[in-house]
Symmetry: C2
Subunit: 483 residues, 2 copies
C-alpha cells in the first residue's frame, strides 16, 4: 500500500490502522443510534431542501472530520421510519439483528454468486428458503432464492412461468402464433406491468381483473376474461394473485384463484410481498389459505418482518424449475457436477447476502415473537379504525384485512383537494406522515401500521389532529359561504 | 411495544435500550475489525464444511450471547477477501467508507423507490450518476441509475435498446416479422445470455463473435456476422462491447465497434462492469478510448473501486431513454408533474441506497488516490507477470490489459489435471487462492490483483510456491516413468 493513499481508506489487513478505523466507525454508530433512540423528536421526513453544491466529486481526498459532517447532514435529511408517526409507506423500523447482519456482510463483503465466493452464507440461504417454502406449505419439492426486492422476484417468477409454459428460454417469443396473457387484479402492484414489459410480453399482455369494494379480485371476472382471451385465440399462461395489495392491504381469494388456474392449466403466482408475513401469525395465517397451491410466491421480509432493505424471496412449488427454466451457466467458478451456483439461477449474478440479516432476525426474535408483533399491528389497526370512525366526515375505504387502513375526509365538493390539505396539515403541524393514494377514483390517506412501538397514545394524538382539521375545514367553509 | 417481545429486537425510538444495543453492536464490530485487521492470518476461504443443523428456524427467541456465537461462526467460515492472497475473483477488500455507508443505510433503512422515501439519497444518486456519465464523456444529455449488480445493469440496458429500436414496450415481441439479434464477443459475460433469455429474445438471439489471442473481439468477424443476419432477414439491434472480460480482463476495441454500430444503426452497449474503473486513472483511461460513443454503459464500482456489494451503475448517453423506453408508473407516491421516481425507471422498485457508500468513498479517497490505487494494481500485475515467466513450464494466456492475469503449468499431457492440482496445492499448502477458468479450451489459474495491500512480498511467496509445485511435479513424472 503506497503511503500517499489515505491511512483510513481501507482496513489494513496487517492491523496498522485498526484503532483509528474503530474510533471513526464508533463515532458514526453513536450518531446513528442516538438519532434512532430519539426518533420521535425528529420529523418522519425532512422539511427543507438541501443545498447540494458540495455533492460533486472531488479530486483531492477529504478529511474524516469533513466526511463526518456530511454523514450528519445525511442522517438528518433522510426518511425517519423509526418515528411511530411515520405511517406513509411499507417501510419499517429495522430489527436490531438486521442492522447487525448488514454490518457483518458489509465488512466481510462476500458474494452470493456462488458457494466459492460465499461458502457458509450460500448454505444458510438454502436452509432459509427451504424452511420458508415449508412454512407456506408448498410441499416437499419446494425451495427458493433471494432477490434484491419484490419487483425482481415478480419478474423472475413470471419469467419462469413464461419459459416453462411457452418454451421461450432459447427461442424467445418470436414466432409464437398466439399472444400470451397474464391476469392480475386492477389493485395488483405495478411491478406486474414492469415484468410484462421487461419480459418482452409488453404491458398490454397484462389483463386487469375487476376488484370488489374491498380491493380483492372478483373471481368470476377473472374466469370471464380468461375465457374471452382463449376464444379470441389468445394464450393465457399466468395468473398473479395478490396477498396484501399496495393500497389497502387486501388479500385475493387464493382458493378461488387456484381453482381457476387449475381448470385452465395456468401458472399461479402469488404476490405476497406484503401479506406473506401473516404466515408467521398463528392467529391470522388462515388469511393466506390457498397460498399453498401457488406455483410461485414472492415474499418480502423487508416489509412486515422488519428486515432492512432489500430482502425478498422467490419461492417455488418445484424448485427444479429454477434449473430447468431459468439457467445461465457461469463458467468461471468451480463446482461439483449436478450442483448449481445461485448466480446461475437468479436474475442477478453477484448478490448481497440478504439472507444473513433475515436469518439472524428469525433466530433472535423467533417465530412466537414475530407472531405477536404481527398480531399487535393488526390489533392497533382495528383500534385506529374504531377511533377514525368516531370523527365526523371521516370515512374509511374498506375494512382493513392486514395492518393498512385508508381514510379520507368526505365532502360533497373538492374532496380530493381537502384530503391533500389534510395530509399536509398533519405533516406540517404535527409531524404525522401518511401517504396519499388513489383508490376507486378518490384520493385517500393511507396508514401502514408497521412500527412495533405504535400504540394507543399515537392513535389519540392522530385523531385529535384530524379532529382539529375537520373543525377548521368546517369553519373555513362557513366563512366562505358568508362572503 | 409489548413486554413479551425481546428487549433488543428493535432500537427503541424512545431510547429505552440504547445502551444494550450499543454494547452488542460494539462487540460485533470489534470481532469484525479484529478479523479484518489480521486477514493474512486466516485462509482466503474456509477449509472445512460446517455442521448446519443449528441453522433451522426456532420458535423461541435465542439470547444475544447465542446469536454472538453464531456470528463468530459465520465470520470464520466466510470468504476472506481482505487477505492479499485471495486472488480468485473480482471480489475486493471494501473501502472503509463503504462499510460506514452501509452501517448508515442499514440503520436509517431508506428506500430508493422515490424521493419521498429517500429524500436526500435520491438527490445524491442523481448527482453521482450524472458526474460519472460526464467522466465517461457521454455528453450533456447523459445520466443514469444504480442497480443491484452488473447483470441487472446489462439486462436493463438491453431492455431499453430493445424497446427503443423494436418498440416492444407495450406490444412485446409477438408479431415481429424478423428475429432480433444481439452481438457480443465469445468472451463476454454470461449475463448477456441471461439478458436475452429474460427479455424474451431467447439465448439463441445472442451471436457470439470471435476473439483474437488476447480475448478481444475481432471487428471483422462482428461485421461479417451482422451482414449475414441482415442477409437472412434477421434484425440486428444491439452490439455489446466488453471493457474488461471476466476471464482475462481484456478490452474490446471500442472505436472499431462504435464505427460498426453507427454503420448499421445498432445500439452500442459497453459492459464496462470491470474495466470501467480505468476511467479514474489518468495514466490508463485511454484504454477505454471509444467508450464515449456508447449508447449505454454498465459499470460496477463494487469491483475495482472497492465499494461493498452490490454497487452497479447503468449510464445512458441520453438519460431520457429511461423515461421514454423503460417507464412503469407508481401511483402510490406523490410527485410533481414531469418528475420521475427512480422506482419508475429501474428494473427494481424498492432499492437499497448503494449510492451512499460510493459517494462517501469517492469523497474520502478522492479521484487522485483512486487513480494511484488503480495504477498500482496494474504495476503489480506486470511485475507478477515478469516473475511468473521466469518459472519453468509456466505460461501466461495473454499480456494483461488490466490487473488480471491467467497462467498455467504447461505439460504435453494432462495439463488441465495438473493445473487443477496446482490450484489445490497453492490453496491447501500456502493459503493462496486463485480461481480456475477456461480460456481457449484450456484450464488456467486466474489472478485478480485487486487488493491494495498486495505487494512484492506476496509475489515472491506465490512464485516460490509455484516453483515448488513444478519441481514436485517434475519429480512425480520421473517417478512415474520409472515404474
Amino acid at each position: 500500500m503506497t503511503k500517499k493513499i489515505k491511512k483510513l481508506s481501507f482496513i489494513d489487513p496487517s492491523g496498522a490502522n485498526l484503532k483509528e478505523v474503530k474510533i471513526f466507525i464508533d463515532k458514526v454508530i453513536n450518531e446513528l443510534l442516538n438519532k434512532a433512540s430519539n426518533a420521535e423528536k425528529f420529523p418522519p421526513l425532512p422539511k427543507k431542501n438541501i443545498n447540494l453544491d458540495k455533492f460533486n466529486f472531488n479530486d483531492l481526498p477529504i478529511s474524516e472530520s469533513e466526511i463526518f459532517k456530511k454523514i450528519k447532514m445525511i442522517i438528518n435529511n433522510s426518511m425517519n421510519a423509526s418515528n411511530p408517526f411515520y405511517l406513509g409507506h411499507m417501510d419499517s423500523l429495522p430489527s436490531t439483528m438486521s442492522i447487525v447482519g448488514d454490518i457483518i456482510c458489509s465488512t466481510i463483503n462476500n458474494n452470493m454468486l456462488s458457494k466459492e465466493t460465499a461458502p457458509i452464507l450460500t448454505e444458510i440461504e438454502k436452509k432459509v428458503t427451504t424452511n420458508l417454502a415449508n412454512k407456506f406449505n408448498l410441499g416437499q419439492n419446494s425451495g427458493g432464492v433471494m432477490l434484491s426486492g419484490g419487483s425482481l422476484s415478480n419478474i423472475q417468477a413470471i419469467a419462469i412461468a413464461r419459459n416453462r409454459i411457452l418454451n421461450t428460454s432459447e427461442n424467445g417469443l418470436i414466432g409464437l402464433k398466439r399472444k400470451p396473457y397474464i391476469f392480475s387484479s386492477k389493485e395488483s402492484h405495478t411491478s406486474i406491468q414492469k415484468a410484462a414489459m421487461v419480459l418482452g410480453l409488453g404491458t398490454n399482455s397484462v389483463i386487469s381483473v375487476e376488484t370488489d369494494k374491498n380491493g380483492t379480485m372478483i373471481a368470476s371476472d377473472l374466469e370471464k376474461k380468461i375465457k374471452k382471451k382463449i376464444k379470441n385465440n389468445g394464450l393465457p399462461f399466468c395468473i398473479v394473485a395478490t396477498a396484501g395489495t399496495t393500497i389497502t392491504g387486501s388479500i385475493d381469494n387464493l382458493n378461488d384463484i387456484s381453482r381457476i388456474s387449475n381448470k385452465y392449466k395456468l401458472w399461479m403466482h402469488t404476490d405476497a410481498v406484503y401479506g406473506g408475513a401473516l404466515i408467521f401469525s398463528s392467529k391470522y395465517k388462515n388469511k393466506l389459505n390457498g397460498i399453498e397451491h401457488s406455483d410461485s410466491i414472492s415474499f418480502n421480509p423487508q416489509k412486515w418482518l422488519y428486515i432492512t432493505k432489500t430482502c425478498s424471496i422467490l419461492l417455488l412449488k418445484n424448485k427444479k424449475h429454477l434449473y430447468s427454466d431459468f439457467y445461465t451457466p457461469l463458467p468461471y467458478v468451480r463446482k461439483n457436477r449436478n450442483e448449481y451456483h445461485l448466480g446461475e439461477i437468479t436474475l442477478q449474478g453477484t448478490r448481497y447476502p440478504d439472507v444473513l440479516k433475515l436469518w439472524l432476525s428469525l433466530q433472535h426474535i423467533g417465530n412466537f415473537s414475530y407472531s405477536e408483533i404481527i398480531e399487535n399491528s393488526i390489533k392497533f389497526t382495528n383500534l385506529f379504525k374504531k377511533h377514525l370512525l368516531t370523527i365526523r366526515n371521516i370515512k374509511i375505504s374498506c375494512d382493513p384485512q392486514t395492518n393498512i387502513i385508508c381514510f379520507r375526509y368526505y365532502a360533497k365538493q373538492n374532496s380530493d383537494k381537502i384530503n391533500i390539505n389534510l395530509q399536509n396539515f398533519l405533516f406540517e403541524k404535527y409531524n404525522i406522515f401518511f401517504s396519499l393514494v388513489k383508490f376507486q377514483e378518490c384520493k385517500w390517506l393511507r396508514a401502514v401500521l408497521l412500527n412495533p412501538f405504535f400504540n394507543t397514545k399515537h392513535i389519540k394524538k392522530i385523531c385529535s389532529a384530524i379532529n382539529e382539521f375537520t373543525k377548521e375545514n368546517k369553519n373555513q367553509k362557513l366563512k366562505k359561504s358568508n362572503v
